[in-house]
Amino acid sequence: MEERLYDLIFICRPDTPEADIDKVITTLEHVATEKGGKIDSVNKWGRKRMAYRVQKLREGYYVYMVVRSSHGEVVKELERRLKVADPVMKYLTVRLDEELKRQDKLKRHRERRAARRPRKTVPAAPPMPGTEPQAAAPTA
């Protein structure tokens, strides 16, 4: 199975000390490597106001990471750990690679079209600028 890329966001309770959050992150990293995956990047967004109340709290500590894995076991285990972890209130995993693939395809498509366009516009270009027809009119 080819490698897959995931976004993983989780929200911790805002009153958890930084050390506990780091502990959660390191355990997740361990789990990922154990199962044959890899955590590409970890980005702590910090305390943010949430759009709605979760467990009667208005704020949460957001952590965002990118996970790379080649089989679903990794995500399954990571989600199980997050469910069990005490400071974690909420988490979300989103598969990323298919969207990246689509993005790539669109980009290539646009580049191809952009490469083709000059040939079409070059013959049309000379009459387009306003100065040339005026210069041509007196001579004709």
């Binding site: 966001i9 929200i11 759009a51 949460g60 909420k90 979300l92 689509r102 993005q103 980009k107």
Partner: protein
């Protein structure tokens, strides 16, 4: 046709263009040369809405950027329809997915709180 034109011209003098126009299809061409037809024809020049994501040439819509998605939801948290925002169908499809993901991770509200 000549017979039809004659009474219409009479009616111009008496009651204006309103009578023959409403009477039937023959009234249309009769009423056009006169002044009153202009009154009914109103041109609304509406600015054409353009898809904002097409302008930016967006290849995907990031659900993590709530500030980008925020203009596309109503105050109560509903997703705005295409006819309101002018988003093209492809981008609207991506947008709804992005908004729903953002809602799941509490970046956007499902419904405004009272």
């Amino acid at each position: 046709m000549a017979e039809e034109n004659a009474p219409q011209q009479q009616s111009y003098g008496s009651s204006g263009g309103g009578g023959p126009r409403s009477s039937g299809p023959g009234g249309g061409p009769g009423g056009r040369p006169g002044g009153p037809a202009k009154r009914g024809k109103r041109n609304f020049v509406r600015k054409k809405k353009v898809c904002r994501f097409c302008v930016d040439k967006a290849d995907f819509i990031d659900y993590k950027k709530a500030e980008i998605l925020a203009p596309f939801i109503q105050e109560r948290g509903k997703i705005l329809p295409r006819r309101m925002t002018g988003t093209c169908s492809r981008h609207q499809r991506w947008l709804t997915v992005a908004i729903k993901r953002a809602q799941n991770i509490a970046l956007l509200p499902f419904a405004a709180e009272l």
